[in-house]
């Protein structure tokens, strides 16, 4: 227990990094996922093919492999650089990997949401002469996004847990910090583990409650 109190600043910083990773990748995944969903329902077969291929490839690849590819492949070999600081650079590379992976799941959730919009809505939009982009932007997506708030919340919770995989390329988020503390305090493994477990629950439980509340509030009444 003493170890947890002594190391509190380290643990706080680690979870702050986990939160930043989640927010940055969550935002990028939402944008990329929405674009992918639009591609998958678009009138152009070539866009649909690209979207489908992306989702099928990414969903069947282990996240660890994606992160390792971003860190070692993009970072070390191809010299993709976001910052002169090595740790910041790996942070951004892991954000790219997490967003690219999560975007595939966001895309599928939004596509399922588009499915909940009654056909009459899209037909009426076409009847008043809206183009595909106007139809999607003004009629279909606003309703679809409101119906997938709860699924997006589940994806966000999965993302919070998935940020731990950034440890594969040495990003010092919560799980890697826990491992470091295990090594430093071999006699306090159990309290450290439960401390980190509770901290994760503190992140995920309110997120779940918030999104359940949001999904009820934003639900489209039909």
């Amino acid at each position: 227990m003493q170890a947890l109190i002594d190391e509190f600043p380290v643990i706080r910083d680690a979870f702050w990094l986990t939160i930043r990773l989640t927010l940055a990748s969550g935002f990028m995944a939402l944008v990329l996922g929405t674009i992918l969903a639009a591609m998958r329902v678009s009138p152009l077969p070539v866009l649909r093919t690209i979207g489908t291929a992306y989702v099928n490839i990414v969903r069947n690849t282990p996240l660890t492999l994606v992160i390792v590819f971003c860190g070692l492949g993009l970072g070390l070999v191809l010299d993709v650089s976001f910052s002169t600081s090595l740790s910041t650079n790996y942070l951004w590379l892991s954000i790219i990997g997490l967003s690219a992976y999560t975007a595939a799941f966001v895309c599928e959730a939004i596509r399922a949401g588009i499915n909940t919009v009654p056909v009459g809505q899209a037909e009426a939009a076409r009847a008043i002469g809206l183009t595909f982009m106007q139809n999607l932007r003004l009629i279909v997506l606003p309703q679809a996004l409101r119906s997938v708030v709860a699924p997006l919340g589940s994806i966000l919770i999965a993302l919070i847990k998935n940020t731990t995989v950034a440890a594969a390329i040495g990003v010092g988020e919560a799980s890697l910090t826990m491992k470091t503390l295990f090594e430093a305090h071999g006699d306090a493994v159990v309290p450290i583990f439960f401390g980190f477990a509770v901290a994760f629950l503190v992140l995920t439980l309110p997120t779940g409650l918030l999104f359940t509340w949001l999904s009820k509030r934003l639900a489209v009444i039909r």
Binding site: P62, T64, E108, A109, R111, T164, G186, V189
Partner: protein, 325 residues
């Protein structure tokens, strides 16, 4: 709704999927102008895609990643037999052992959560909810270090990975089992009790056989997740398929990018095969007459809002996964 030449009912849209012009309710059937615009846009998209590929190839070439020496190892049998297959074997055996233990774990805890005795139901629920909420990687680290620090055991990476996978996926499977049993209509167990079966008999003879049929696809879908998650072992130096691609091959041939790409293809092929099995089972269980229960949505899937006659392209799966690792 009557079908006109312009609007497409979901049914015809599905039938016409394979024709050149797919019809969607999101846009009109293209006329001459729209066809021209679509052709121009298609050419533009192809050009942008080609440019992206060109930029990538140039970048790879600039860093000498297209050298034959980096790619030819994959044409040699001994590289596959000595370096890649042992990793693949470790990945598959970890996944198999974990699956064989996780499925009974899931059944025990799933049924325990439905128990009438709170002293069984509450602890089982706590275990399931706890392990589902903790990142799998943290569990693996905890087993690795906790095993030696608390119990004085030497924990191999294999044991740590399998234990983590069992606890996490077993808990997810427990939720599948619970919802599978709950998806059997109440009349079934009421009728069974009425003819004088005991509680254990109702579960064993009436509920479980029907529930298993309903949840089979969801279980197999979860096994794909389990297989993917074995890659986390890489972080604790488990010598799995990812280790072969990201550590062993690069240390021999200095070819991390080609190696990771080839290994990714292997993972994708294996997962597609298991995923196809899940789809097949789902189709089979949907038309099965052996159960009164509706098929259970895949685990970690979010409510399947598959409203009939929705707007999206045909072929939507029943549930949407969250990418939970």
């Amino acid at each position: 709704m009557s079908s006109t030449t312009l609007t497409a009912e979901p049914k015809p849209a599905r039938e016409r999927t394979r024709s050149a012009e797919r019809v969607s309710v999101l846009y009109d059937v293209p006329g001459p102008k729209a066809r021209l615009r679509n052709t121009v846009l298609t050419v533009l998209v192809v050009l942008v895609a080609l440019f992206a590929v060109y930029a990538l190839v140039t970048k790879l070439d600039e860093k000498n990643q297209l050298d034959g020496a980096l790619w030819t190892p994959f044409l040699r049998g001994d590289v596959w037999v000595n370096l890649i297959l042992p990793g693949l074997l470790n990945t598959l055996s970890a996944a198999l052992v974990a699956a064989v233990i996780a499925v009974p774990f899931g059944f025990v805890f799933g049924i325990a959560r439905l128990s009438e005795h709170s002293w069984i139901r509450v602890p089982a629920g706590a275990v399931v909810e706890f392990f589902r909420a903790i990142p799998l990687l943290m569990m693996i680290f905890a087993v690795m270090y906790g095993g030696s620090a608390v119990f004085g055991l030497t924990v191999t990476p294999f044991t740590a990975v399998v234990t983590g996978l069992v606890l996490y996926n077993g808990s997810v499977l427990a939720e599948i089992v619970r919802s599978g049993i709950q998806s059997v209509p109440r009349g079934q167990s009421e009728a069974a009790l009425a003819i004088g079966l005991r509680k254990g008999q109702v579960m064993r003879m009436i509920l479980l056989p029907q529930a298993v049929t309903a949840m089979m696809p969801a279980i197999v879908a979860q096994l794909v997740v389990l297989l993917k998650d074995t890659a986390l072992g890489f972080i604790v130096s488990f010598e799995d398929l990812l280790n072969a691609g990201a550590r062993v091959l690069p240390s021999n041939f200095n070819n991390i990018i080609p190696a990771v790409m080839v290994i990714a293809v292997v993972y994708i092929i294996i997962n597609l095969i298991v995923g196809a099995l899940a789809t097949w089972l789902e189709r089979r269980s949907r038309r099965s007459r052996r159960t009164a229960a509706r098929p259970v949505a895949p685990a970690d899937s979010v409510a399947a809002p598959g409203a009939p006659g929705g707007v999206a392209a045909p072929g939507m799966p029943g549930g949407v996964t969250t990418g939970d690792d």
